[in-house]
């Protein structure tokens, strides 16, 4: 723990010519296709990892655009219908004086998705290009991305709760907009993108530099 910045030189399973299971850590001599302990597929490195990362990320980006343009919520009050987008919802919250909640929604639906796109792209690029951040920090970044992705789903849940709750006939009705679908898809795709990333690749690049 003393020198967290520079990683100590270690022998990896790949260099030792053996296979480490990415699920349970069991080490195998080359040969078996599946882990003897947990039955997961054994691969020294997941070679399709980066392809899938970029694929899912691109899909996530494509559906993220309509999610921001089209209405997320459709509110009908006393015969008057108003549409609100994700950003519009945040602005409404600020007008109502709920700054704290506005910040939660803003962070969950705008800051986290955008930061996630950038972070995943950075991590994927760092495998093939030289970058400034140390492998330890990048591993940390990956863990944060993995942990935080699901929290973007908050706004979709809010829309569902409001739509099921506010059905007071003429007085007030809230319906979900089409952006709810594309936003949910965007969150799912970026989660798949992050899950496709083989974090062992982060360390390989720096190992080759050291050697």
């Amino acid at each position: 723990m003393e020198n967290a910045g520079s990683a100590p030189p270690v022998l990896t399973a790949r260099r030792a010519g053996v296979l480490g299971c990415a699920q349970c850590g069991k080490v195998h001599l080359p040969g078996p296709e599946r882990c003897a302990r947990c039955g997961s597929v054994l691969e020294s490195r997941d070679h399709t990892s980066l392809q899938r990362v970029w694929g899912w990320m691109f899909a996530g980006l494509v559906v993220y655009v309509p999610a921001n343009v089209y209405p997320m919520l459709r509110t009908s009050m006393l015969g008057k219908t108003t549409d609100s987008t994700i950003l519009g919802g945040v602005v409404d919250l600020i007008h109502h004086g709920s700054i704290g909640i506005a910040i939660i929604v803003f962070v969950a639906s705008i800051v986290i998705p955008v930061a996630k796109f950038i972070a995943i792209a950075y991590l994927a690029l760092s495998v093939t290009h030289r970058v400034r951040l140390s492998p330890g920090k990048r591993q940390h970044l990956y863990e944060v991305v993995e942990f935080i992705g699901r929290w973007s789903m908050i706004d979709v849940f809010v829309v569902a709760i409001l739509s099921s709750l506010v059905r007071l006939d003429f007085a007030a009705t809230i319906n979900p907009g089409i952006a709810a679908v594309s936003f949910a898809l965007s969150v799912a795709f970026t989660m798949l993108s992050a899950l496709s990333f083989d974090s062992r690749l982060i360390w390989d690049a720096s190992e080759e530099e050291d050697a």
């Binding site: 723990m1 039955g39 909640i101 706004d155 099921s164 709750l165 062992r200």
Partner: protein, 233 residues
């Protein structure tokens, strides 16, 4: 507290190209004593850990192993508690809204079905999965995997695929995210109408707490090792 040792025993072969794997530097017996970090592939000599001790990777500091005392029994108890709470959360009223003399009561089921009209219909399935189906499936799988072992039996027939699925579902079971969504929704409606929280809401909050507690107790590598050991004997 307890550090696994870095294995710089075997010198890496020089001409190791990234694609081709070098010849194994260890024999089968040596390999059995090693553990590879699932996050970064660094090899460690496996150590026998006491309950409560934590082994971390020397390179990426990721968790290797953290056995807990009577973890299995606790996980099962918590999973069963979570299942009961989920039943309560589904069938009791969740939220109540009243405005201008009208009253609207909504259960978790209503929330899930909110998207069931028109273009947003596919979201219904996704919502049901994220809030109810996947969390329940995870609890059931964990009880199926750990239950027989906790009472001293051999693991159930499909324990290995079941635990793999349970672990793969972890990011997709979003009960705790939903709770924050409820909090945001409460504030949004506050200006529009009077809102009160039903008993199901508290059941759901308890469920989230139980889930977090359970995931805290569970060390994936320890469970796999126990499964392996019990299968042999």
């Amino acid at each position: 507290m307890n550090h696994a040792v870095p294995s710089s025993l075997a010198a890496p072969s020089e001409a190791a190209s990234p694609q081709a794997m070098p010849a194994p530097a260890f024999t089968a017996e040596e390999v059995a004593r090693l553990i590879a970090c699932p996050s970064c592939d660094a090899l460690h000599e496996e150590q026998v850990l006491n309950n409560g001790e934590v082994a971390r990777c020397v390179r990426c500091h990721g968790l290797l192993e953290a056995p807990r005392r009577s973890a299995m029994t606790r996980i099962i108890m918590l999973a069963l508690a979570a299942l009961i709470l989920m039943v309560a959360a589904i069938f009791f009223p969740f939220l109540e809204l009243s405005a201008a003399g009208l009253m609207q009561r909504s259960s978790l089921l209503d929330t899930v079905l909110a998207f069931s009209s028109g273009m947003t219909a596919p979201l219904t399935l996704a919502m049901a999965a994220l809030i109810v189906v996947l969390p329940v499936l995870r609890f059931v799988l964990l009880v199926y995997v750990l239950g027989p072992m906790a009472i001293g039996w051999a693991p159930a027939r499909y324990a290995r695929p079941a635990f793999r699925v349970a672990e793969a579902l972890r990011p997709w079971a979003m009960a705790e995210v939903f709770i924050v969504g409820v909090a945001v929704a409460l504030v949004k409606v506050a200006g529009l109408a009077h809102l009160s929280i039903g008993p199901a809401f508290w059941a759901f909050v308890a469920l989230v707490l139980v889930t977090v507690l359970k995931d805290n107790f569970m060390c994936r590598v320890s469970v796999w090792k126990t499964l392996e050991a019990r299968r042999r004997s």
